[in-house]
């Protein structure tokens, strides 16, 4: 007789859900996780990870196209879209298996099916068509004192831009192209849109990005966004900002978009494929939330600082619990959530300190307030900048286009934000994140010895620049 009663049941096994399950098991809770599609959720299977695999192929392809820059030669360099996609899928499969292993290792029960919360403490699971992993429990009635909703999000659908999965793609289709389209229209310039634009451009597609807001990567600092835009345009990506796709007319193997340029004119553009990347919305439906009276707001579940919903015993973490929609935010929320259930008094998350990364070429990484936001919040600020062109390692790498920018509170020396564009910055940003979490001031950062020669030296130089002490420019 299989167990049907647990201390904690988590609905959804994405990065938020499965990490929460492991932490719950570590804390001694009997834990179950419910999944209907893939262990690891979108992130591992259709999001963060497989796109990084695709982008890695693109990056290497890019280098192979410019071997002379490094004194090398390579001829007849080609690519096989099928093999590129296959590699990406294999990466996902490996991690997907890894989550299964982690569940077994931590004695977390996996329940396969679609969950509905019938009442606080009660979850009904219906069977689904997707194949269950070995050892998973099936449909039935389950009980748990604490139910954590971690159902994630899905692509937002705008009227008139409904994806048909053939000509108009979401990230699902964009991740497994049968062949590289000759031309591509990307609607939306957030992380997802820009990463696909970068990927397809590298493989030769004629890419146009349309963004409704005045800048691409709207969440980023204006200066960083402008810098990135210049780089993208140099690569041949066409960018229309402040513009809106009003209509898509589908032909047999192409789509013609009508675009309101925002300047009182309209233009049409025909592309082989369209990627709709206009954001994501929380998966709040069919969970029984309305019946339970769980409060939701604009497609997300409303939670307090410790991820409790308004209904006792029901919690929400990750994308379904609102912005920022990031896997690392979901993971941390999950940890806080179960630690609070355990009575450990975890510190609520400071959302200002969650870094964001975009893996296009050049990469973008940031944490904290942008310069505009700092000014809007009435901070008297000091801004420091350092260009990649002043860094030895960057030049040696052949990556001398980039910028590191830091924003300090003039009064206290608190680091308010850090913004970077350029090679490998997604791996650098954590240094500033740690600094901000520890509440360091410019003084400690200036006293820290950074290794030479590394890209990280630019992080210190930017701090020095904010205080008029920059060395290498």
């Amino acid at each position: 007789m299989a167990e049907t009663s647990f201390d904690i049941i988590i609905i959804g096994s994405g990065p938020g859900g499965y990490v929460t399950a492991i932490r719950a098991a570590q804390l001694g809770f009997s834990t179950a996780i419910i999944e209907r599609d893939y262990l690891g959720g979108i992130c591992l299977n259709w999001g963060c990870i497989p796109t990084k695999a695709l982008l890695r192929s693109a990056e290497i392809f890019h280098y192979l196209q410019h071997p002379k820059d490094y004194g090398l030669s390579a001829e007849h360099v080609t690519y096989d879209p099928g093999a590129v996609v296959k590699r990406s899928r294999a990466v996902s499969k490996r991690l997907n298996d890894g989550v299964g292993f982690l569940m077994r290792k931590n004695k977390v029960a996996v329940i396969w099916g679609e969950a509905t919360i019938e009442a606080p403490g009660k979850v009904a699971v219906k069977s689904v068509a997707t194949p269950a992993p070995k050892g998973a429990l099936g449909a039935g009635a389950y009980q748990a004192k604490h139910i954590i909703i971690a159902t994630g999000a899905r692509p937002r659908v705008l009227p008139g831009l409904e994806p048909d999965k053939k000509l108009i793609w979401t990230y699902f289709e964009a991740m497994v192209p049968e062949h590289m389209p000759k031309s591509l229209l990307v609607v939306g310039s957030g992380a997802i849109g820009i990463e696909f634009a970068s990927f397809y451009r590298t493989f030769g597609a004629d890419v146009t990005v349309v963004e409704i807001l005045p800048q691409i990567l709207p969440a980023e600092d204006v200066e960083i966004s402008a810098f990135a835009r210049k780089q993208f345009e140099k690569q041949g990506i066409k960018i229309l900002t402040g513009a809106k796709v009003t209509k898509l007319d589908k032909a047999a193997d192409s789509v013609t978009a009508t675009i309101d340029t925002g300047k009182g004119t309209t233009q049409t553009l025909t592309a082989k494929r369209v990627i709709s990347a206009v954001g994501v919305v929380g998966n709040i439906e069919n969970l029984g939330l309305e019946k339970l009276g769980v409060k939701t707001e604009r497609g997300a579940i409303v939670i307090d600082a410790l991820n409790r919903t308004n209904v006792p015993g029901i919690y929400a973490i990750g994308d379904v619990a609102g912005a920022p929609l990031l896997a690392h935010k979901a993971e941390h929320e999950g940890v806080i959530c179960v630690e609070a259930v355990k009575g450990l008094k975890p510190h609520p998350m400071d959302k200002r300190l969650i870094p964001g990364c975009t893996y296009c070429a050049p990469q973008i990484a940031s944490v904290g307030l942008t310069e505009q936001a700092a000014k809007e919040n009435k901070y008297d600020i000091r801004v420091g900048r350092f260009p990649f062109a002043g860094n030895g390692k960057a030049i040696a790498l052949g990556e001398d286009q980039g910028l590191v920018k830091v924003i300090f509170d003039r009064k206290t020396g608190a680091l308010l934000g850090a913004h970077m564009v350029g090679a490998e910055v997604t791996e650098l940003i954590q240094g500033y994140v740690v600094a901000m979490n520890l509440e360091t001031t410019e003084e400690e950062l200036m006293h820290t010895v950074f290794p030479h020669p590394t890209l990280s030296e630019m992080m210190k130089e930017a701090v020095l620049d904010a205080y008029g002490r920059v060395l290498n420019i």
Binding site: L27, K342, G343, L344, K345, H347, T412, G413, A414, L438, E439, T440, T441, E443, E444
Partner: protein, 465 residues
């Protein structure tokens, strides 16, 4: 989940207390509001009420234990339906640390035990009982457990070190706030920027730590002092809490307040006559006990309260940021008790009649001797009276008791020969000394206050005006 019962902070300045008595045994049922223990604090014995319902699973600190630091685990409560034995075994582990009840005014906000250890800056304040004493046993094993989940409860004794973020340190320095006074809310009780922000607006700030003796006036070590005496020629009597508090507070007052002294002789013939008349007229109950018996000191309290109202500039408290000008005259009255003294405060004394003041003082004095005064009864106040007249002392100057800006010292009422209009005559005289905090009350202002007092005490009729 078992509830950890921690040593409560029954007053803002309390750092440790004696666990005088357990009123519940292990296995006893406890309801919210039940008195479970008596805690002997700095100056009083307080009853400790339960806030949760359950069964007292384990007493961790036995009764009669002295100097238990605030927030030390003293007992574990098993909540309803919980296994009492399991709860007892889990003592101090995963159990939720229940903050002490926030009953007395000004109790510092709760924080995990680890926080207490790190934040109370003084080397004395460690979460491990008696860790101050170098001879004390090492901390119990539970305090050293490596289990990760305990990290927030596990005190790590780090004398003198206040954990704080660089940003918090800078903000505190700029705001002129001693980090030792701030309650940390970061990991392991680390003081972070928001704690300093809160402290700047007066939240989560604790009373100043005892000032470290300034360089040059470093108190000699105990051993050096003992070495001056023949071994066996003295008996070393350990300090009780009250002695330590008196020593700390008076040293702090005398070191930090620039005292300025003024003296006046007051002729109190009229006062003595009035007192006799008033007391003779007191209605008596069926046992023949009068409804009141006004003392000279009661007149002094009233006269000082009224004098402060007439000279409002002197009814103040010095703070670094601003002068606090008080609306009422709250008069502390030094009461000698076995082993020390305490100053209960007669609030709004300017509005109270002599008989009310008198009866209030009798009640205060009786409860002070039984050490049953509540902290709010002896904290605060705007000025104070100290009277050694009953010992025949002619004049003296008491030490100002912060947050007061002055203290009036009353000498003996005695018959003296005085010269008046070229003739010697006998009069009842009383010498009063006024010590003022010169930061707040300048010499001339103190003189005006003392003259206002003299006018009232010499003509008690004026107190009725």
């Amino acid at each position: 989940m078992p509830v950890n019962i921690l040593m409560p902070a029954l007053s803002p300045t309390m750092e440790k207390g004696n666990l005088a008595k357990w009123l519940k045994k292990e296995g006893d049922k406890v309801k919210p509001g039940d008195v479970i223990a008596e805690i002997e604090t700095d100056k009083a014995t307080m009853e400790y009420e339960a806030v949760d319902e359950g069964t007292l699973a384990k007493i961790v600190v036995p009764e009669g234990t002295p100097d238990v630091p605030v927030k030390t685990l003293i007992a574990v409560l098993a909540e309803e339906g919980e296994d009492v034995k399991a709860a007892a075994a889990a003592a101090g582990k995963g159990a939720a640390a229940k903050p002490p009840p926030p009953k007395p005014a000004g109790t510092a906000p709760s924080a995990p035990m680890g926080a207490a250890a790190a934040v109370h800056a003084s080397p004395a304040a460690q979460a491990v009982p008696q860790a101050r004493d170098p001879r004390a046993a090492p901390p119990p094993p539970q305090a050293r457990s490596s289990q990760r989940e305990q990290r927030q409860e596990t005190p790590v004794a780090r004398p003198n070190r206040v954990f704080s973020s660089p940003l918090a340190r800078r903000m505190a320095r700029e705001a002129g706030i001693d980090l030792g006074r701030i309650q940390g809310s970061g990991p392991h009780g680390r003081i972070i920027a928001r704690d300093v922000e809160a402290a700047k607006s007066g939240r989560g700030i604790m009373a100043p730590a005892p000032p470290a003796a300034a360089p040059g006036v470093q108190a000699p070590a105990d051993e050096k002092i003992r070495a001056l005496f023949e071994p066996g020629s003295y008996e070393a009597v350990p300090h009780d809490n009250i002695r330590k508090v008196i020593a700390r507070r008076l040293l702090e007052a005398k070191l930090t307040i620039p005292h300025f002294y003024l003296t006046l002789d007051c002729r109190i013939d009229k006062l003595l006559a009035a007192r006799e008349e008033i007391n003779a007229a007191a209605p008596k109950d069926k046992d023949g006990t009068p409804a009141y018996k006004i003392s000279v000191n009661d007149f002094v309290i009233k006269a000082l309260a009224l004098a402060l109202q007439r000279v409002p500039d002197a009814n103040v408290t010095w703070t670094e940021g601003a002068m606090l000008r008080h609306k009422h005259s709250d008069i502390g009255v030094a009461v000698s008790i076995p082993g020390g003294l305490i100053t209960p405060v007669v609030r709004h004394a300017e509005q109270k009649s002599l008989s009310i003041i008198s009866n209030e003082m009798k009640d205060f004095a009786a409860r002070a001797r039984a050490r049953k005064l509540a902290p709010q009864e002896y904290q605060g106040g705007t000025s104070a009276v100290s009277n050694l007249g009953m010992y025949g002392i002619k004049d003296f100057y008491a030490i100002i008791n912060p947050p007061h800006a002055s203290i009036l010292s009353i000498g003996a009422a005695e018959e003296r020969a005085i010269a008046r209009n070229g003739k010697i005559e006998a009069a009842h005289m009383m010498t009063v000394g006024l010590a003022t905090d010169h930061r707040a009350v300048d010499g001339a202002l103190g003189a005006v206050l003392l003259n206002a007092f003299k006018a009232l005490i010499e003509n008690p009729v004026m107190m009725v005006v």
